[in-house]
């Protein structure tokens, strides 16, 4: 697993798909390839209110990535320093084995180059001290990027605030 975690605050995500465009624009990708994608589920009535889920699907940068172990040319790699899974375009021959292997559909086909594209957490930006494109530009700021151990904090704080009930407390 990469040492990073990309946290999507689903409560403030509005499913606007800006992240998809920002990613493509930053990587200058043609039609078709979407290294990250928002999948809308719903609306569905929950307790009398219509609810939608916007599921953010980048690459999860697995600990033992199927795409890396199956890649016949060594193009798909895991960066030893931080565990980011990326594809070396020079070595990619476009065999699509990684596309078959990945359970989450993360590797994407670039119809112009005939090679695979995927989310690499914008490692060039990380190396320059910046955040991934999608996180930097997100319309609502619902995406947060950082070390996995820090990323649970938002949810914990939110849950604590929601469950602290001063009005009804007997203490």
């Amino acid at each position: 697993m990469s040492k990073y975690y990309l946290f999507q605050d689903t409560r403030t995500c509005i499913g606007c798909h800006a992240c998809e465009i920002q990613c493509k624009s930053n990587k200058n990708l043609p039609r078709g390839a979407k290294p990250c994608q928002i999948i809308q589920v719903g609306p569905k009535m929950i307790n009398g209110l219509p609810k939608m889920s916007f599921i953010f699907m980048p690459c999860y940068h697995c600990e033992d990535p199927w795409c890396v172990s199956t890649c016949p040319t060594g193009a798909m790699q895991k960066r030893s320093s931080d565990g980011i899974v990326f594809v070396d375009k020079e070595l990619c021959v476009g065999c699509k084995t990684c596309i078959s292997a990945c359970p989450w559909g993360a590797p994407q086909w670039n119809p112009e180059t005939g090679k695979v594209e995927k989310c690499d957490y914008c490692k060039d930006r990380l190396d320059a001290g910046l955040k991934p494109a999608c996180v930097t530009l997100c319309t609502t700021g619902c995406l947060t990027f950082g070390l996995a151990e820090d990323m649970t904090q938002t949810r914990r704080v939110r849950h604590a605030e929601a469950s602290a009930s001063f009005e009804n407390s007997s203490f």
């Binding site: 509005i14 800006a18 465009i21 920002q22 719903g42 219509p50 930097t136 530009l137 319309t139 609502t140």
Partner: protein, 694 residues
């Protein structure tokens, strides 16, 4: 050769502040201006597609002169000199023969609007009209009737609100970054969101209360809310007695508009209406009844918008934190606004406007914007006089004025149609000459005066050289003006000259914008003293009983007219709206945006679709009294059975915009050109359509 430039986005008309990174003469990266609170680096989907638009070769690349029939798509390339001469010669001819008033200019208002207005004034024509009336003419009139200020002078204080009510204001899809972020922050702090719409949107999915109202009946809901608020004395009595004129008349008027009555009209249970009135009044004055972004749905639009604004006044949320406020200009902070070309002396114009706005025939719409949907009628009927030429400046009358067939017929009567745009819009395609404008990333533009709680100025600054043979709009109009002998009204050679001219006397120079992309007149939020509110109505109060309306011969409180339901089982009220991906009719061909959303679909209620044999994703025919077309159906439980819905802006006819050509269906083709004859907005949701499977 890397550089960073602060500028203003223009993928939609919100004009969010941006920072552009340029590498080797190419735009490499765009982000929201990190120095602007509420933007903090964010960029919406359309803004994020700016680079995709800039490097798209399907935009207009040089001046073009039509060689075939209008709309045939046969063009020849022209030099700027030839194209400008061509336009100027014909304009001069028309001016000499039928007078300057037979030349009209329509525009999506923008930073160089003072240039186009000056152009027409110098020419001697009163016939400037903008997109504004199409969007919110009646909101403007409603605001003036109550406060004496236009809607453009009113703002919403989202950040500190405790409860916001949105009437179809789909704020999380038809979005502006700063609004979304500040409202989202307020919701995170515990603010409540009530959303009312015949259709479930993303905004509905974030709401604490959602009502699938019967389409067209929001006014009935509001009268019932007012009924409860007055009856149960839930209003801000101090504020109302000090600042409201006509509350007793309102009380008498709403007496019979009970929640039980409204339940029958709207489909919203009476108990829930009462509950909202009680709940929201607990949070006053930090509550917002949102008066609308687009306010152009029904022929009684002005009364609907007035009722919303009255609810704010009853809550005391006018000029209140977390409510609505009046925008403060530089003068409030001891500064001076940038100059505009329209402040020059022009020859007096005696002819009335084509739309008669501001005359006794059509007294209330704002003549500063005109009433765009009247244009086809004025041309066809030659009423009040013949019109011979139209300059369309980044506004598309064919796709934005209802009843495209009628608009086309009117355009066919014109001797000259000129379009200034970056895109092959449908109006460009139907023009005689296209004068391509440089994109927002390729041009410096006029000063953006940002009035608000903290008055500021922003500057759009050229990031890269134009990719194609394009010019800035303000330069195009100046060049045409020079050929027409009015060049002296345009005292600049370059955009930099013009900006310098604008800044003279403000105490700021262009260099001051380099650090953060904007300059501020002060650092504190300015709220007026609620004991001394400077309302600009004759009574100096908020006029529920409106002298503006009554002096023009209209009632302040006309009886509610029941909203009719579709007569037959296959008939529906057509409702339209926006998504987060596209801006009106202008972005459908932008590569990345087109990839995400390339066509619109017709939302139709599952039960109704079942009865009519309409399957999800299958083609249907939609027909009204003025037009028909084909579109794929989207069958869903999440729309009211009386309504069908489609996104605005699809079904383009311009062949060179290949990605958007003939994709989806244009709502304007189906909508009847009917409008609010008092307030000035079109009634885009007053068309009934029949839907049948194909």
């Amino acid at each position: 050769m890397d550089k960073e430039v602060f500028s203003l986005c223009f993928m939609c008309s919100v004009r969010c502040p941006i920072k552009v990174k340029v590498k080797d003469g190419h735009v490499d990266w765009i982000e929201g201006n990190p120095h602007v609170a509420g933007i903090d680096g964010s960029l919406c989907p359309r803004g994020s597609a700016g680079i995709s638009m800039l490097y798209d070769d399907q935009r207009v690349q040089s001046p073009l002169i039509r060689v075939g029939e209008r709309g045939s798509g046969n063009w020849r390339k022209a030099s700027w000199e030839e194209a400008i001469d061509y336009v100027a010669d014909r304009l001069k001819d028309i001016k000499d023969k039928t007078g300057a008033h037979s030349i009209a200019l329509c525009e999506r208002a923008q930073l160089a609007t003072h240039v186009s207005k000056a152009f027409l004034k110098a020419l001697g024509s009163p016939n400037y009209f903008s997109h504004d009336a199409l969007c919110k003419g009646s909101v403007n009139t409603a605001c003036r009737s109550l406060f004496g200020y236009t809607d453009a002078e009113v703002g919403i204080h989202y950040g500190e609100t405790k409860h916001i009510v949105l009437y179809g204001r789909n704020i999380f899809e038809s979005l502006a970054v700063k609004e979304v972020k500040t409202l989202m922050a307020a919701l995170e702090k515990g603010a409540r969101l009530t959303y009312i719409d015949p259709r479930v949107t993303v905004t509905a999915s974030k709401a604490h209360r959602y009502w699938m109202i019967r389409p067209g009946t929001d006014l009935a809901l509001n009268y019932a809310l007012i009924h409860v608020i007055l009856k149960e004395r839930l209003y801000d009595a101090g504020f109302v007695s000090k600042w409201v004129h006509g509350v007793n008349e309102l009380r008498d008027f709403v007496e019979h508009y009970t929640p039980e009555w409204a339940e029958k009209e709207t489909g919203i249970p009476a108990g829930e209406i009462i509950a909202l009135a009680r709940e929201i009044s607990k949070d006053r004055p930090s509550v917002i009844f949102h008066y609308g972004y687009r306010g152009a749905s029904h022929q009684n639009e002005i009364y609907m918008r007035r009722s919303i604004l009255m609810l704010n006044a009853l809550m005391g949320s006018v000029e209140a934190k977390g409510g609505i406020f009046f925008k403060k200009g530089p003068g409030e902070a001891g500064g001076k606004a940038a100059r505009k070309l329209v402040s020059q002396e022009f020859p007096k114009i005696d002819m009335p406007r084509f739309d008669k706005a501001g005359t006794k025939d059509f007294p209330l719409p704002d003549p500063n914007h005109g009433v765009a949907q009247v244009f086809p009628y004025a041309v066809l009927n030659e009423d009040p006089y013949p019109i011979k030429a139209l300059i369309a400046y980044r506004m598309d009358p064919l796709m934005s004025i209802a009843d495209t067939a009628q608009t086309k017929k009117a355009l066919d009567k014109l001797d000259l149609i000129v379009t200034i745009d970056i895109n092959y819009s449908d109006i460009a395609w139907y023009s005689d000459v296209i004068l391509p404008e440089s994109t927002y990333l390729e041009r410096t533009d006029c000063i953006q005066q940002m009035n608000g709680l903290k008055p500021q100025m922003f500057l759009r600054k050229k990031a890269v050289e134009p990719r194609y043979d394009t010019l800035e709009g303000a330069i195009i109009l100046k060049r045409i003006g020079e050929k027409l002998g009015i060049g002296h009204y345009f005292p600049y050679e370059t955009m930099e000259d013009l900006v310098n001219w604008q800044l003279e006397g403000t105490g700021f120079t262009q260099t001051d914008f380099e650090k953060k992309g904007f300059v501020a007149y002060g650092s504190d939020q300015i709220f007026w003293d609620r004991e001394n509110l400077p309302f600009k109505t004759p009574s100096k109060k908020i006029e529920f009983k409106s002298s503006l309306l009554e002096n023009a011969g209209f009632e302040s409180f006309p009886e509610y007219q029941p909203v009719k339901a579709p007569e037959d089982n296959d008939r529906f009220r057509l409702v339209v709206g926006r998504s987060a991906i596209h801006t009106h009719v202008s972005t459908q061909n932008v590569p990345y945006l087109n990839e995400l959303e390339s066509e619109n679909k017709l939302w139709i209620n599952t039960k109704k679709a079942g009865q009519l044999g309409i399957k999800n994703n299958a083609l249907v025919e939609v027909a009204s009294s003025c037009g028909k077309g084909r579109i794929k159906a989207f069958v869903t439980d999440f729309i009211h059975p009386e309504a069908v819905f489609m996104l605005h802006g699809f079904g383009h006819e311009a062949g060179r915009a290949k990605r958007s050509f003939n994709k989806g269906l244009s709502d304007a083709l189906i909508q009847e050109n009917v409008y609010d004859k008092i307030g000035g907005s079109p009634a885009y949701h007053d068309t009934f359509v029949s839907v049948k499977p194909l």
